[in-house]
């Protein structure tokens, strides 16, 4: 591919925009997944602590 | 004729409203649903009327018209009266008569002495009159099972009496009535389904013939 062909900026723009959009998409999905998992772990941990307290109290 | 429900489970918005509810109601029986608000009384009526499907358990109407499902043999009178203010009382009743396949609007009017209002626009009716109009449909349309949600709300003394006679006639004619209500309907309830039981397990407590 020779870099100084005409319209090269259009070609590069296409690839760059595609890369940027796909990276943003992947990042958003991964981040949301981590967030939900963190909340879920916190809730299950809290639940476990409460159950242990309840058992200890019996 | 016998309406049977076996350990019905109702779910709304991901939350279990009630589970494990069983009841039977035979011809001539009035089953009253009691319990705190939000216990699922109305949900059970809506379930029988086919408006929301049970998540578990099943229902059966023995002796009814088997080719039709239960909902088509029920009348469900809820809080909303389903009347169009832009139409007259008679037009509204005539529409529901045509839609449900027959029934003379005079029966509905006479049941709650609404004859003088026949040609009035429904917009002019008071809340109580609208209530009597909705209940009037019970007299007009012939369906064996009546599902009444707080029927006496908004009724004055003699309207309540008219309702009592209507229900009395329906029961004597072999009909079945399930009603949610907080006041005494003046008809001996053959059974009470109490939703207040612990953890959503409502039990059917039959009241003896005493009263």
């Amino acid at each position: 591919m020779d870099l100084n062909a005409p319209h090269m900026n259009f070609i590069l723009a296409c690839y760059i925009i595609s890369a940027v959009v796909l990276v943003i998409l992947t990042a958003s999905i991964v981040i949301r997944s981590r967030q939900v998992e963190k909340k879920l772990d916190r809730l299950t941990a809290a639940g476990a602590r409460r159950r242990r307290k309840a058992d200890a109290g019996k | 004729m016998k309406l049977i429900g076996e350990n019905l489970v109702c779910e709304r918005g991901g939350r279990t409203v009630f589970s494990g509810i069983s009841f039977t109601a035979e011809s001539g029986e009035l089953l009253v649903l009691r319990g705190r608000n939000g216990a699922g009384k109305t949900s059970l009526l809506r379930m029988i009327a086919g408006l929301n499907e049970p998540v578990g358990g099943q229902m059966e109407l023995q002796g009814g018209r088997d080719d039709e499902d239960i909902a088509l043999q029920c009348q469900f009178i809820a809080h909303q009266e389903a009347f169009k203010p832009a139409m007259t009382v008679a037009e509204n009743l005539q529409f529901w008569s045509d839609f449900f396949g027959g029934g003379d609007i005079l029966d509905a009017l006479e049941a709650f002495s609404l004859e003088p209002l026949a040609d009035f626009s429904a917009a002019l009716l008071s809340a109580g009159q609208k209530r009597r109009l909705a209940l009037g449909r019970l007299a007009m349309i012939d369906r064996p099972v009546w599902l009444l949600d707080e029927p006496t709300v908004g009724l004055d003394v003699n309207s309540t009496e008219q309702l009592r006679q209507l229900m009395r006639k329906h029961l004597d004619g072999g009909g079945i009535i399930l009603a949610t209500t907080h006041i005494d309907l003046g008809i001996k309830e053959t059974a009470v389904l109490d939703f207040n039981a612990v953890d959503d397990q409502a039990e059917l407590t039959s009241i003896g013939e005493a009263e």
């Binding site: 062909a5 690839y15 959009v21 939900v36 998992e37 909340k39 879920l40 | 991901g14 929301n52």
Partner: protein
């Protein structure tokens, strides 16, 4: 009604997802590396378009993936309605943003390709117009999930919308093509050239596979998130019930 608290199949799914995720991610990365190398360095320049033909390697796969994802959404919506499978409508919901991104990319790269080809950024070419309508169908589908709070109801309504949309995709495609031939008898330059030589076809197929595996990888992860989010909602509901 779907019984969400019965986690029989979601746990199976989570195990499957845990197993597949690393493999699918690895394959996606490999495909992209190979695809990009082939597209940028190996494929010959087109005698007519010279280097700008390389745009095709990101445009056509994106358009193809956008359409594939909508089909996946329609199929899972059908499964959700017919078999009331609790995971099916969540599968459609989690796929939508990915499909939207692909369709958006196909429009952007299509417009950027138009500039050197026809001198204008946006030309109402049949394929671009159909992709534009598909983009709107995606927006409509995602708007349903925002508009309806109750997840069960939103799930059912969005399934109906996806299916109705899916029935219309071929009709819209046919009518737009027909409309295109009506106004521009024969557009001089077909989007992907007269005949595709193998040297062009191979990078195209590899990039197409790369986009598809990317969708699979993202969809698996997004679906896991949705399953966990639902479990979270259930637990919060239960907590709220106790208070």
């Amino acid at each position: 009604m779907a019984r969400f608290e019965k986690f029989a199949n979601p746990t199976q799914f989570l195990r499957l997802q845990g197993f597949l995720q690393p493999w699918v991610t690895a394959i996606t990365i490999i495909l992209f590396v190979v695809g990009l190398y082939l597209s940028l360095f190996v494929a010959p320049a087109d005698y007519q378009q010279k280097e700008t033909v390389r745009i095709m390697f990101v445009h056509v796969p994106a358009a193809w993936a956008g359409l594939m994802v909508y089909t996946v959404m329609a199929l899972s919506s059908a499964v959700a309605i017919i078999f009331r499978h609790p995971l099916a409508d969540v599968a459609a919901k989690s796929a939508a943003p990915i499909g939207l991104a692909f369709t958006f990319l196909s429009l952007v790269t299509g417009a950027l390709w138009g500039k050197p080809m026809w001198g204008t950024y946006w030309v109402w070419d049949a394929r671009l117009t159909s992709m534009f309508v598909l983009f709107l169908l995606y927006l409509g589908y995602m708007a349903i999930w925002q508009a309806i709070e109750d997840p069960h109801r939103a799930a059912r309504i969005s399934s109906i919308v996806a299916l109705v949309g899916f029935i219309n995709v071929p009709i819209i495609k046919f009518s737009v093509d027909w409309w295109n031939t009506l106004h521009q008898p024969a557009s001089v330059f077909k989007m992907n050239g007269p005949a595709i030589s193998p040297s062009i076809l191979i990078p195209l197929l590899v990039m197409g596979a790369a986009y598809s595996f990317l969708f699979l990888a993202l969809h698996l992860l997004a679906l896991k998130t949705e399953v966990n989010a639902r479990k979270l909602r259930q637990m919060q509901l239960a907590e709220a019930g106790k208070v």
